[in-house]
Amino acid sequence: MYPISTRGYVAALLLAWALSGCAGAQPQPAPTLYQKLGGEKGMHAIVEDFAYRLADDPELVAFFANTNIDYFVNSLQDYLCVISDGPCVYRGAPMDKAHQHMGIHEADFNRLVDALQATLLDQPISASARNQLLKRLAAQHAAVMRYQ
């Protein structure tokens, strides 16, 4: 063990204090994924584009035959907001309950991911933000497919 002198200790504390931003320049917190996706405006654009793609896909639109589209769109926007660390509250059912007994096959899940990727590619967002959102949603696969 190396004994630390009191002087050295104080110097280290001062250095740490200096580095932590005593000069007045508060370090910016890293932007959340929500912000990288364009905040509320960006999220709205994503959900709108995505909803149109679902509607245009005859295989996928069938799953929404008995769905209140306004409710779905709002709920999806809240969900995407929450999953990307945004300031929202998702009041819908958890992913497994929300999709139970819908008869979703892997093929349907994959089609939806493909549609979402296409949506994200059309938005003015970075590849990193796009792939980070896909990563977080891909992790929900097990829950979505739990009660099929």
């Binding site: 096959h105 892997e106 994959n110």
Partner: protein
């Protein structure tokens, strides 16, 4: 050695290739629903994979309710050799892949031609490259039969002119991994006696038994339809007359549509049959439906 069965299979392959080509070009519909590129391309033994190594995913983009067929034509231009491969693979419900490939190695410097047929099957055990934390894992077998060139294989010390490779392969896509891009990692463990993939026979005077070899590749998706990467494939060294090294390459694959992909690579295949440092280009065209 051209038995009626083999001739029939060859015709079937040519017919299926033509049919697949026509259908793929005439049909703008989706081939399958998995994300583009997640089925890899056709490797030189006919399985879904990179150029050299089979991957843990199955051919095409078929999901649990779909069937995909892919056909590929590949050429490699090395210093003293030329390799031509024609392959076809069928993916049933993203569970089983059956494949057939014909390899033709022209010995430009030594003179002559070697031909090999490869019958392959791959079973996806579990997982998914995107959704499962461990990725997608498959067990595969490749039955290889040397056609033309059996005498040469025997002459250089090979024990057999046919053999079976067994392999376990895993593939996992890491989202947002490098510069925001997705990285596909593949690992394959293979049990084999093949010399130069089987083109120089199986087993040899130096080692007649099976070897466990490792193969790996990394592919970075610069865009969802464009991947660049590296591959490495370890090989046994069974023959006393000439040393054999690992194969490696750098590659790029462009998924132009769901039905058409183009792969280019720069190969370094080491020494082959005593001719040193075989390097060169590789091009592969794949049609899928």
């Amino acid at each position: 050695m051209a038995s009626p069965l083999r001739r029939w299979l060859r015709r079937l392959l040519v017919g299926a290739t033509a049919l697949a080509a026509v259908t793929a070009l005439a049909m703008p519909a989706q081939a399958g629903s998995r994300l583009l590129g997640t089925g890899g391309v056709t490797q030189i033994e006919g399985a879904a994979g990179g150029g050299l190594s089979p991957w843990g995913v199955l051919a095409g983009t078929a999901s649990d309710t779909e069937v995909a067929v892919s056909v590929a034509a590949s050429e490699a231009w090395l210093d003293d050799y030329g390799l031509r491969v024609r392959g076809i693979g069928v993916n049933w419900h993203d569970r089983v892949e059956v494949s057939y490939a014909r390899q033709r190695l022209a010995l430009d410097t030594l003179g002559g031609v070697l031909e090999q047929e490869i019958y392959g099957a791959k079973l996806r055990l579990f997982g998914d490259p995107l959704y499962h934390p461990w990725g997608s894992w498959s067990l595969g077998v490749q039955h290889k039969r040397l056609g033309r060139g059996q005498a040469l294989a025997r002459a250089v010390g090979a024990e057999a002119t046919q053999g079976n490779d067994l392999y376990l392969a895993g593939s996992k896509l890491f989202f947002d991994a490098v510069a925001g891009r997705n990285l596909l990692a593949n690992l394959t463990l293979r049990s084999t006696r093949a010399n130069q993939g089987g083109l120089l026979g199986f087993g040899g005077d130096r080692d007649s038994g099976r070897s466990l070899v490792a193969e790996g590749s990394l592919g970075l998706f610069l865009t969802p339809a464009w991947v660049v990467g590296v591959e490495y494939r370890q090989k046994p060294d069974n023959l006393g007359f000439a040393e054999e090294q690992a194969w490696q390459d750098v590659f790029t694959a462009l998924f132009l549509t769901r039905h058409l992909s183009l792969t280019g690579a720069w190969l370094d295949l080491g020494d082959i049959a005593g001719l040193e440092n075989q390097r060169g280009g590789y091009l592969s065209l794949q049609l899928a439906l």
